[in-house]
Amino acid sequence: MTPFLLFQALLLLGLIITAILVVAFKDLLFSAIAFAAFSLLLALEFYLLQAPDVAIAEAGIGAGLTTAILIIAIRGTKRLEEKE
């Protein structure tokens, strides 16, 4: 089962990279995009751990709803440089 473990290691590496990107981006829209990628990879990880119902919930809530709500919230804000 070595390829399986390698697959899981690559997936966890991607999870760590996207989680760092969510915090590191200065633009809120970029952070929302990185968070969408993070929840995508998290759904795949749940799927890989043989919990398909949790993966369905994560796909519905994380990928669909959370990104939409974050974008709607970002629309109500202003950028820092044009605030004055």
Partner: protein, 84 residues
Amino acid sequence: MSCWILAVLVMVSLMLLAMVRLFLGPTSADRVVALDAINTLVVASMIVLAVVFRQILFVDVAIVYALLSFIGTLFIAKYLGGNL
């Protein structure tokens, strides 16, 4: 069975390559396209993993995921277009 796992490994490597564009991309359109590429790769690897695990239920998760995952991209596109 091992060749299917190798196919999934290739797809996860492609996800990491798309993550490079998610990190570097100068405009937000680049990042959205990278996110959509990761989306499609996640759906494809879920279907191949259903073959690996030999369970028909896992294909349904991929179908639900493919139906729901475009909503985030749709909202980001509408936000970039300016008429959300």
